[in-house]
Amino acid sequence: MYRSNVLVCGGTGCTSSNSLTIVHKLQEEIERLGLKDEVNVITTGCFGLCALGPIMVVYPEGSFYSMVKVEDIPEIVEEHLLKGRIVTRLLYQETVEDDTIKSLNKTAFYEKQKRVALRNCGVIDPEKIDDYIAQDGYAALGKVLTEMTPDEVIQTILDSGLRGRGGAGFPTGLKWKFAAANDADQKYVCCNADEGDPGAFMDRSVLEGDPHCLIEAMAIAGYAIGASQGRVYVRAEYPIAVKRLQIAIGQAREYGLLGKDIFGTGFDFDIELRLGAGAFVCGEETALMTSIEGKRGEPRPRPPFPAVKGLYQKPTILNNVETYANIAQIILKGPEWFSSMGTEKSKGTKVFALGGKINHTGLVEIPMGTTLREIVYEIGGGIPNGKKFKAAQTGGPSGGCIPEEHLDIEIDYDNLLAIGSMMGSGGLIVMDEDNCMVDVAKFFLEFTVDESCGKCTPCRIGTKRLLEMLEKITTGKGTLEMLDEMEDLCNYIKANSLCGLGQTAPNPVLSTLRYFRNEYIAHVVDKKCPAGVCKELLQYTIEKDKCFGCGMCARKCPASAISVTDYTAPGKKKPAYEIDNNKCIKCGACIESCKFKAIYKG
């Protein structure tokens, strides 16, 4: 037994800001002061509050040290761990109230959260199977194998109302039921860990913070549908996740929790990893399976659905990481417990990766039905620099932008679809008044054009044409008719594309056209970009009465577009300068060089 446990985040976010050096320093200092048998240092998965990384929590006090620096470690070890005096100065200031220190769970960021899928992230050491077992790990697998029939397992998942967390929200139990009903000599359980949305990292955190929960859930799924083989398709860009998953699979095999005759019940199940190689389309289920087969990851028409003919033409189920992360808890706590959370049609919780113009960047898990306002303003701590909220983007390149008028919407699958966005895998990017919505639509279209696999024409050519129109609009060459043409093309692409990538690719355009049409109109009619983002539509101007005539801007201008005039403002000694907008390349170098704030853009 240790007197103190020090938890340091070893997720990708905190590791990038040196949390592993902190762990080494901690161990060094603890050794030096002879506390090795009293204090235990644990490298955990993600705590979620990435904005404050590197993060360190000391138990039993629950002291939450944020933005820890290596230089602070000697002081924390000596004062807190040796002498028992918490270093209040280095705590996350929201946890310090006058003389008392609040628990982490009472802070605005954590209080409204409900951690089911992330329950072990930031709590256990993901590289130790015993830590997972101590948190009831593998108890659900034991219960399933010894007390339940496969049909009962499927019924439990059906009753819980769990829907796929990868984006589309298909009922998980139903998927399992279809696959179970097909007889075959071999079936497969697959996991989609190829998180490709720019700005989303929910699955990565589960893989890094709690890899065993995935292994356990896949084994349960294998038992339910009658499969003895599992495949995890994971991004090669997630080296920490891959390593921890490999360690976890090795440990599970060693403990007899994977392999032959698990729990002495005669049930065999094993898992192999497959690394992705950077193709967004492989998030689509049939493309993912083609990729596991070692081919170009192109989707194929459905039917036949994977439950009939999936991987290697055998019945297959594919769920994403977060979906699996709920399974063991549903088995242990019962479907009623799970379905008591959430809304009528969307049960349980959802993990979101909060990013963009928001104070608390990080990972949050909330019950379905929480409003967007609560997420942005309470959990997320609002928008930095007093800027005004403009939109929240969910669903990545497949989703849409939600405007301020829908801030009070209760987040669930159906409500998001109704307002033209989608749940997606859980990226939630907040945008403020400085973001141009046409530019955002263009950004996502550039992404889909790059990532379209090229197999079907509506997606390959349609998205390209759509991008060309957006480029025209952002460079002042758009017309009003173009907006209607775009809308028609969007609907055509949606209706005719083969797979989910093409069917959802127009969503960023459609949703911005729907809620921010006036911004498009400003671009095509007034030839202005209200947010000041689209360079070609900007004009830089020198306010002559503020200009001291120092000439700094003219020297910085890479295009020699600034020249001196014959006007000298009252009270100034030298003549003012002016910008020739025909020569100006809108690089902004002049604004940065002006000490007198005499240059503005608009």
Binding site: E237, A279, P558, K586, C587, A589, S593
Partner: protein
């Protein structure tokens, strides 16, 4: 995104080939072996020249067309190597009007390679990039993490020599 195919002569060592053959032998019986083998091949060689792809195809008993199809489909597979020093020339508008096109040509002439290529000795590779946001310093190039600004064509030999002799 279209991939640039390397024209540098292939210079694999027997050790590298032995490693690749070992990878092929380990995966040969697995279904869907092409991707894992290509991933290992890229770790061994740093990129996937056609010679390596041919060895993979022959070793696994699949057509070169299939291997080539896979290597060009996924963004992670590189068909062209990066040099020890990667020179990035900013072709953003500000740099371009200040003559970064000329700088690119000069570097290309000095090194004897075009954009997205690598010198035969593996020392230098050349990329043309979009704006790096240092317009005040235009024209700008970066060599690995070092930034050089306000360049003229005459500065180019000096900068290249600095790394040649490093």
């Amino acid at each position: 995104m279209q991939k640039k195919i390397s024209t540098i002569p292939f210079s694999g060592t027997p050790e590298q080939e032995a490693k690749l053959q070992d990878a092929i032998a380990r995966h040969k019986e697995d279904p869907g072996a092409v991707m894992p083998v290509l991933q290992e091949a890229q770790e061994i060689y740093g990129y996937l020249p056609i010679e390596v792809q041919t060895m993979v195809a022959e070793g696994l008993g699949v057509s070169l067309e299939e291997v080539y199809g896979v290597s060009t489909f996924y963004s992670q597979f590189a068909l062209s190597p990066k040099g020890k020093y990667n020179i990035s020339v900013c072709l953003g508008t500000a740099c371009y009007v200040k003559g970064s096109g000329d700088i690119l040509n000069k570097i290309s002439e000095q090194l004897g390679i075009g954009a997205e290529e690598c010198t035969p000795d593996g020392q230098f590779s050349l990329t043309a990039c979009r704006c790096i946001g240092a317009c005040g310093l235009a024209p700008v190039i970066t060599v690995n993490d070092d930034v050089y600004g306000r360049l003229t064509v005459d500065d180019v030999p000096y900068i290249i020599n600095k790394y040649k002799n490093a």
